[in-house]
Structures are given as C-alpha cells and as structure tokens.
C-alpha cells in the first residue's frame, strides 16, 4: 500500500530523515514511536507530500507521490490525515467540516454528503454535534470530528500525526477507541504516537525511530518486551 524507498529529508542544514525504507501492507496498522525530533512526523508528512523529500521515492497505492508529474491532489484524496492540533475549519459547522471536501472535490450532491457525514458522526459518537461550530467542542470531540472529516473522502490509508498529544488526559481514550474501531474494520493506518498502550494493543507492527533512522522494527510484543537495540531499550525504559 505504501512503499518508502531510500528517503532523505533536510530542513536547511539539519538532516531529519537519513535513508528511510519502509513497506506497509494493505490493512496493516503501523505505529511509529521514538523521541521528539527523531523524524517521525516528518516521515508521515512526506507520505502525503506536505513535505517534499530531498532524495528517494514514496509510492502510495501504486502511484509515486514523489514524482512531480503525479497529480498529488488525486493521491491525497486516497489518504486521510489527522493532525495533532485537529486543524478543523473554524468557520464551518461540524457537518460542513465533513461535507466540504466530498462536495467541492468530488462534486457529491449536498444531501448525499450530509447523509454520509451523519453516518460518520454516528460512527465517532457525535451525531448530536452536527450543527455546532468547532469552538464549542472539547479537544477529544474536535479530534473525532477531524477523523470523520478525513474518512469522508473514503480514503484507503489513514495517517495520524500524534493525534492525542494535544488532548487533556481524560479525552485520550475516546479518540483512541475510535482509532481502534477503524483498525478493526481493516483500515490501513500509519500512526505516529506516544501512546505505547495503543501501539502495543492495536498495532500490527511497531517502528522505533531515532535521529532520522528506523532503528528497530517488529511485532509490538517483541519491541515492548524484548527490544534488541540499546537505543530502543533506553527510550522504552524512559516512557514505560
């Protein structure tokens, strides 16, 4: 589903990705963990080209997103992205946040888009908030709406960039449970996260990144109970 081949990325003099290779299968849930500044978020943002890579290739669903000739807007429609700070559109209601992309990009009729949005809102447990503006939602509710907004384009892959890091602790659970449901439905997911419990329980595979490289990867059980690399061991000893 996603193929990352020899990717390098620098911001000015600072090299943040140093030769990343990663293959993600359809229906796989990959959790990316690692210390701050290790390049996890940058890698995720390279997948949907919010950041351009300096070297290497990334393929999504058979199309090379790093090829300037590819219509990136078309490929992005197959990838939903959920941001740390939600980035809901504050001038639109919950319902409009979800319907705007299908209506404006796919030309979906409004009533059809409204039905789809209501269905998605039921799925994330917020059908009663359809006509509320984002300013009147809690952080956890905002993030669930953001997930519904991304799902409205019926993506094949969902990218999560630290989706619970900006939430109050009591709201983390409701967002993780929506993500877990999504994983159980078979959505292909790449999740950059600090929620080790989620990575362990829901992840099919865990990637540990440090200083712009994939240091270790494996099954969650193996990574969390028996990490091989000393850097993984030292990171996990601090966070677990």
């Amino acid at each position: 589903m996603i193929d990352i081949v020899g990717v390098y990325k620098s911001f000015g003099k600072l090299e943040v990705l140093k030769g990343i290779n990663l293959h993600i299968k359809p229906r796989e849930v990959v959790c990316v963990i690692g210390p701050s500044g290790s390049g996890k978020s940058t890698l995720l943002r390279c997948i949907n080209q919010l950041e351009k890579v300096n070297k290497g290739h990334i393929y999504v669903d058979g199309e090379e997103v790093t090829d300037p000739k590819t219509d990136i807007n078309k490929v992005r429609q197959k990838m939903g992205m959920v941001f740390q700070h939600f980035n809901l559109f504050p001038h639109k209601t919950t319902l409009e946040n979800i319907t705007i992309a299908p209506i404006k990009i796919k030309g979906m009729p409004k009533n059809e888009a409204d039905d789809l949005a209501m269905e998605l809102l039921r799925k994330v447990g917020l059908e009663d908030k359809a006509h509320v503006y984002p300013a009147n939602l809690s952080g956890g509710q905002k993030q669930r709406v953001a997930i519904a907004r991304a799902l409205a384009m019926q993506p094949k892959v969902m990218l999560f960039d630290e989706p619970t890091s900006a939430l109050d602790p009591e709201m983390v659970g409701e967002v993780l449970s929506v993500m877990k449901d999504l994983a159980l439905e078979g959505m292909t997911m790449v999740v950059v996260t600090h929620e080790m419990g989620f990575a362990r329980e829901v992840g099919d595979r865990v990637i540990f990144m440090d200083e712009g490289q994939i240091v270790e990867e494996g099954l969650p059980e193996q990574i969390f109970t028996d990490p091989k690399n000393p850097r993984t061991q030292s990171f996990l000893s601090k966070v677990l």
């Binding site: 807007n73 992205m81 404006k104």
Partner: protein, 229 residues
C-alpha cells in the same frame, strides 16, 4: 426664551457665521462628492488589493514581482504626486481627461496598494494548519484559498480595511488640486471670497470629523459583531 433667541440673533451678526451658514448646503454637497470619490476608490482598491495580496503570496515569480512593484511604487510615492502624474501625465493618453475619473483612478490605485498589504497580512494570519488540512483532503491551492483561507482572512481584514477607508477619505482632500469640487475644494473657494479662515476651515474640519467619526463607530460595531459571530 428671549435669551436663547438673543444668542442666535447675535450669532447672525458675526460675519463668519453668516458665511458658513449660507454655504452649508454647498459644503454638504462637496462632502457628498468626497464620500463618492472615497467609496468608488475603495471599491476599486479592494479589487486591486485582493489580487495584489494574492499575487504577492503566489509561487509564480512574475506575478509576485508585478505585485511587489505595484505596492512599492504606490506606497513609496506621495498620493499628491500620483494624482498630478496620472491626471496630467498619464491618463490623457488613455482618453481620460475628466478630473473626477482621474481622482478615482489615482486614489483607487493608491488604496489598492495599501489594501494589498492588508490582504497579504490577513491571509498570513490564518493558521498554517488550515492550508495543510485543506490540502491533505485533496483540495488544490485555489480551492483551499477560496473555501478555507479567504473566508477566515476576511474577518481579520475588516478592521484594518475600515481604517484604510477612513485614511483615504481624508486623503481625497488632495484631489482638490485637480479641481474636483469636493469638500476641501469648496472650502478653498469660499475662503478665497470671504477671508473667514477660522470659520470656513473650522466648518470644513468639523464636517470631515463627523464623517470619519461615524465611519469609526461603524467599524467598532462591525468589529464587535465579528468578534461574537
């Protein structure tokens, strides 16, 4: 009772008061022309300013250069000189010789440059994550601008836009130099005939002030509405 009318009667014995009183309809007509010139210039300036602001932020180098040159020139030279240059030096070659039209073109071009900067700042004030969210859904740059960024920028832009409106209204007094019969021009004529400087210019100043103060209050009202809405 007789005391009040006594004061009114004694006012009419002052020459300057008589002059202002008799010319008040003439001044108010001029004030209306001032408002017309301002409104038409701002309308032109908003269209120019929107494009100047968008071009200024464009990835296209040519569009960006055109916008920068336009904004720099009209902000970097006096409006007074721009009015003279356009009315006498440029517009006659395009078949425009009516002063009222020249005045609107000059003031419109000038305010377009200032509004361009207001628009640019407004767009840049919208959180960067908004563009990223729109693009990540698959919108192209134009869709993201139209549906997501500009509707948010316009709220940010309204208060400085009203300030620009007020500033331009005062600056239109400069078009009196090309004989547009607006408020300042009329003040000049009446003063030249009567030499009642304090009364005539005092009255003109008060009329300007009433207009700008009203606009300012309107601006405060709009700002409050936007803050709650």
């Amino acid at each position: 009772m007789s005391g009040f009318y006594g004061i009114i009667d004694s006012l009419f014995e002052i020459r300057g008061f008589q002059v202002v009183y008799e010319n008040m309809p003439y001044f108010l007509e001029g004030a209306w022309i001032t408002i017309e010139v301002t409104a038409l210039s701002v309308a032109m300036g908003m269209v120019l300013g929107l494009f100047a602001g968008l071009f200024r932020l464009s990835k296209n180098r040519i569009l960006r250069s055109i916008s920068v040159a336009y904004i720099d020139f009209f902000r970097g030279t006096p409006l007074f000189v721009q009015i003279l240059l356009l009315h006498f030096g440029v517009l006659p070659y395009f078949g425009v010789d009516e002063a009222f039209t020249s005045a609107i073109i000059a003031c419109g071009l000038n305010s377009g440059a200032y509004i361009g900067e207001i628009v640019r700042a407004g767009i840049q004030a919208v959180d960067k994550g908004q563009m990223e969210a729109a693009r990540s859904l698959g919108m192209n740059e134009r869709q993201a601008m139209t549906y997501i960024i500009l509707p948010q920028a316009y709220k940010i832009v309204i208060p400085p836009l009203i300030n620009e409106f007020i500033a331009l209204l005062k600056d239109t007094s400069l078009v009196s130099t090309i004989a547009v019969a607006e408020l300042t021009y009329r003040g000049n004529l009446v003063y030249a005939n009567t030499y009642q400087a304090a009364w005539v210019w005092g009255a003109v100043a008060i009329i300007y002030f009433v207009i700008t103060k009203s606009l300012g209050l309107l601006g405060d009202y709009v700002e409050r509405r936007l803050a709650t809405g």
